[in-house]
Subunit: 320 residues, 2 copies
């Protein structure tokens, strides 16, 4: 079993690699080789193992970027490399090149090599949704992305479904909820506050909440995302159906509830570290993301949500 | 006002050109120039007019194919050129090149020339729908195309919405119902019977009905499609919203009702010309197309359906 991970220097890529090494196997097969690719050479998991590692810096937008990687006929490809939302919005050509063209080149590389049973697991995003939406979204809700990032992800979803329907690849696209609690520092993402308002007080630091507390988010813990990525490579092809993209089951939580749970673990002193400074720009972006889903398809395929928001915070505290 | 039509040698392109010449104006502006482009040089409308015509054979997949066309800064572009469903299914690369890459090159050509107010009207298709669908589809129903043609059209829809949202172009994508009654001869399209079972008996010829009579279709007359294309260039940009693609209002009709209307105009002798020869392959394809829509967005924008199926048949008879 040979597994290739793109975007492997990122937060999810590193964590997925560590999890695969800890498991030693995927889909019942021992992992013999793990290839980690990113713009900068990804760090190797810190573990004693028989798995053969390859770590490589590669620009996936370059011509023939996939050739040598696909010549080795990986059994599973985790395609996590992406230009994130704000960067794709700032630079249309860069976003198209990385988020769409590189994915298409990957698909065509698989097609030309007959990698029809290679399982391609791609991360998509709640950003594919937008516009006028029903109260509760489900598997038949239209994608009306309100960003170039969401547009590029939605186009990849369509292409992966079509290539899978044609039997050219065995694709699976998981739309990720907002990931809470991300480790590390706040970043420029509009959703950054969702981790900050918990992580910082739990680390005895101050945080800013830029949104109204009645705002609803649809969230998943980092650990559950990794479990879902692993499961995404293990679902039998015949159970997938023709549409290969679907929303993962998340937890719907109001910001007020998040702060209640924070108070449970960090006390009033922790809660007092969250300063409320409404930011209309951030609120507009985050409020456009739907907060309620019926994820029937994902659940039928065996994907599961975190049990509740309490468990998400406990997992973060346990990992500290 | 300078109007460019691609796919202008086709049935719709020719009819649209004739209609524009008859109107002499579009969106209140006199048409000064009409550029007709197709793989083979399109025929010119047969009319005395002051409009300046350019007719040209051009491969829109060639590098720089759009350059000289866009250098003239057309005010309205009707992008009707496409590889049809069966051909796109047979040849993935051809379909991607014509249906997707050429459209993307058109969009990028507009972007690079700052044609932000050029109205791009593109024809899409009911083939963008498929998979597990609700009984009645609406503007929030997911696109789950079950063909490469539908996939390529859906990707163009997303891209045109994104380029419009960014203010790079003023796009409008009209998803066409099944067009009934097409003039001419039966063709290889799975939907060909829908015209045949009326056109042939009305022309004193035999026809074959390959589907069960309880099958429902969602249809529009050629004349109404042309009216919709004209209207598509006339809707004010500020009314369009961010999602630029929507289903046009059609008429839901069972095959049995179509045959009833046929009987009204062609009598029992006409009806007897329709031989029922069930074809599982054709039925599977056509039955996967949804037959019922709530087209709220299109109606709000002023698009209208044929009044009923009777009117569709009458229009055909009048035009004969």
């Amino acid at each position: 079993m040979h597994v290739l991970i793109t975007g492997a220097a990122g937060f999810l890529g590193q964590r997925l690699a560590a999890q695969l090494v800890a498991r030693q196997q995927l889909n019942g097969q021992p992992i013999q080789r793990l290839t980690l690719v990113d713009q900068v050479a990804p760090a190797l998991p810190d573990a004693t193992t028989d798995i053969q590692f390859v770590t490589e810096a590669r620009d996936i937008t370059a011509e023939h970027a996939w050739d040598t990687l696909l010549d080795e006929r990986p059994d599973v490809i985790y395609h996590l490399a992406a230009v994130v939302s704000s960067a794709a919005e700032a630079d249309l050509e860069l976003g198209m090149a990385v988020n769409f063209d590189a994915t298409r080149a990957l698909l065509d590389g698989c097609r030309k090599r007959g990698l029809s049973s290679t399982r391609l697991v791609m991360a998509s995003s709640v950003a594919v949704y937008g516009g006028e939406l029903p109260e509760v979204l489900d598997d038949t809700t239209a994608l009306m992305p309100q960003s170039s990032y969401g547009t590029q992800k939605a186009m990849c979803e369509l292409l992966i479904s079509d290539y899978s329907r044609r039997g050219l690849i065995d694709g699976r696209v998981l739309r990720l909820p907002t990931i809470v609690i991300r480790p590390g520092r706040p970043n420029a993402a509009a959703s950054s506050f969702a981790s900050s308002i918990l992580r910082e007080p739990l680390n005895d630091e101050d945080a800013i909440c830029p949104v109204p507390t009645e705002l609803e988010l649809y969230v998943m813990s980092p650990g559950q995302v990794i479990e879902s990525l692993v499961h995404g490579a293990e679902v039998e092809a015949e159970r997938m159906g023709d549409n290969r993209a679907f929303m993962l089951p998340g937890v719907t939580v109001r910001v007020a509830e998040m702060l209640e749970v924070l108070c449970r673990y960090a006390g009033d002193a922790g809660l007092a570290r969250v300063r409320h400074e409404p930011d209309a720009r951030v609120t507009a972006i985050v409020a456009s993301w739907p907060g309620r889903f019926r994820t029937t398809r994902a659940e039928r395929l065996g994907f599961v949500a975190d049990s509740d928001f309490n468990a998400i915070v406990e997992a973060f505290i346990d990992e500290k």
